[in-house]
Symmetry: C2
Subunit: 319 residues, 2 copies
């Protein structure tokens, strides 16, 4: 099977067909119509075997995750996902594997109303790069740089579940039967907070998604906004599964430094907190206020209630 047949067989019809795709898979490039008055938002995420996933990962889950982590970046910018490109590098063509991977990718793309519009397939060590493209009303993208002193800090969902899921998959931690499905779901099938991200455009001063752990990722907002923050770790949203599976020290560690939750971290000015409450109601996504932005540029203070919370963050470092 050549590259061309591979593309045709597995990828030429992935996702939701969109009328704004004037030329999709199979030409030198995709031709896409960005809506008038909208900005284009582009994200890129690479997943390499051995670094980001195990060689024996369920390919369907991998297809899902690749789309979800990219779409999560779009959500963090307040953008509406529209189009996907895939750079797929595989050592050999395994039809069963590719078929399952494409199915996972297809389902998730369709769920988010995205169409796969192109990419490249090459031979080499297993590696997947996805490029997601979305649209946001002009000037309305939510950046990391907009947080102001006094803003309230929020996170969506619960933290630490994906890191616990990784430990479960690795066999280094036990999780009781009743929680296993939830924890594995959180690890293998992360949620991208797309609808909520778009709703936040009118209230959030900054936003990002949490991929490498809250305690490390928040520094991107602090640096780009030239502010500091304090977080009350007692307010961190933890799932019942996490609380039942870990002692409190480990729960804190997973919630603060565990990666791959893909929840949104965002800041809201005091004047918009009422609007936030109103707009949240239709989404059914728990949102928790965990702290505030301070004027101490680049400094993160962790507290447990009124006490200083001593903590050494060890985030994921590639190199």
């Amino acid at each position: 099977m050549g590259e061309f047949e591979l593309i045709t067989n597995y990828f030429s019809k992935a996702g939701s067909p969109r009328t704004d795709v004037h030329c999709g898979v199979g030409d030198d490039g995709a031709v896409l119509q960005v809506r008038d008055g909208y900005d284009l938002v582009v994200t890129t995420d690479t997943m390499v075997v051995g670094t980001h996933f195990f060689a024996d990962v369920d390919p369907r889950a991998l297809g899902h995750k690749l789309v979800a982590v990219n779409v999560s970046d779009l959500a963090a910018m307040g953008a509406e996902p529209s189009w996907l490109s895939l750079a797929l590098t595989v050592p050999v063509i395994q039809p069963d594997w590719l078929s399952e991977f494409a199915a996972g990718l297809h389902e998730t793309a369709e769920y988010f109303n995205c169409q796969l519009v192109g990419g490249d397939t090459t031979k080499g060590p297993l590696s997947l790069t996805m490029i997601a493209k979305g649209q946001v009303p002009r000037g309305k993208a939510i950046k990391r740089s907009g947080a102001k002193v006094g803003d309230y800090i929020y996170v969506t969902g619960t933290l630490g579940d994906a890191a616990l899921g990784l430990r479960l998959v690795q066999g280094v931690q036990q999780v009781s039967k009743k929680h296993q499905a939830h924890i594995l779901q959180r690890f293998h099938y992360p949620t991208a907070r797309v609808a909520l991200g778009q709703a936040l455009r009118s209230v959030a001063s900054s936003a990002m998604d949490i991929s490498d752990g809250l305690a490390g990722d928040i520094y991107h907002i602090l640096q780009r906004s030239a502010v500091g923050a304090y977080i009350d770790v007692q307010k961190l949203p933890l799932s019942q599964a996490l609380k039942d599976s870990c002692d409190s020290a480990q729960a804190m560690q997973l919630a603060l430094s565990g990666g791959e939750d893909y929840e949104l971290l965002f800041t809201v000015p005091d004047s918009k907190r009422g609007a936030l409450d109103v707009l949240l109601s239709p989404y059914g996504v728990p949102v928790t206020c965990i702290g505030r932005i301070t004027g101490q540029t680049g400094k993160l203070e962790l507290k447990a209630g009124e006490q200083v919370f001593s903590y050494q963050h060890k985030g994921f470092e590639h190199f």
Copy 2:
């Protein structure tokens, strides 16, 4: 050095700063303003060590080539290059290598007036994926699907030089001293026919770039346009360097099946041939008519003057 420092050190300022980049490297996504009345064109190309380049390749040339092959795809669509994203996977951080690679990328991006706006850096076997984004007046992208029976077939530049360059680098073929620099330049520093590609919007019925050899690549136009073609191999444009380095059979073989020339292959209706001649004059790029489109769907006839030219194409197959 972490991922964040790596990005900051080498890639945060690559290419020409553009006023349509509202958010570049360092956020969850790039925010880009597509011009009103224009379509977005997106291309993706991956280069993997051992498959697309040698481990000891000059990193500066590699940086150039990565940009050029992507921009060449934009050129083939008639698009104006605007923005680049880079997914960079490296096994270890080698500052000298990265610095040279970034310099090659930077120079070439700047030459084409593109800005690097984001991407991802990960650890793993050396692999580079670039995503180039360009703009084309709405509805004016040149696709592979527009060729019609009777259209004339053209190529830019000369064919086979890059394949000869590969053989020279591999040490399997000699090239006389006076031609070496030219041939190596053609292999390491391919040209993207960007200005010409944009000019072709008003005259070409279809276009693509030649990356895997004319005799294989042309089938993409034949299939998508549901047409056939004949090509007179005596008309194939060959450089003096190629003619001096190969016998005629090998010259034909390299010109027809050699990859990586990144010249444009395009078709023009009879009624537009005069317009083509007029618009070509400012570009200084040789353009050669090599055949015509026929009604025999999917069939390529090769002729040498009036004779049938018997030829077995062996293109590059990844798998």
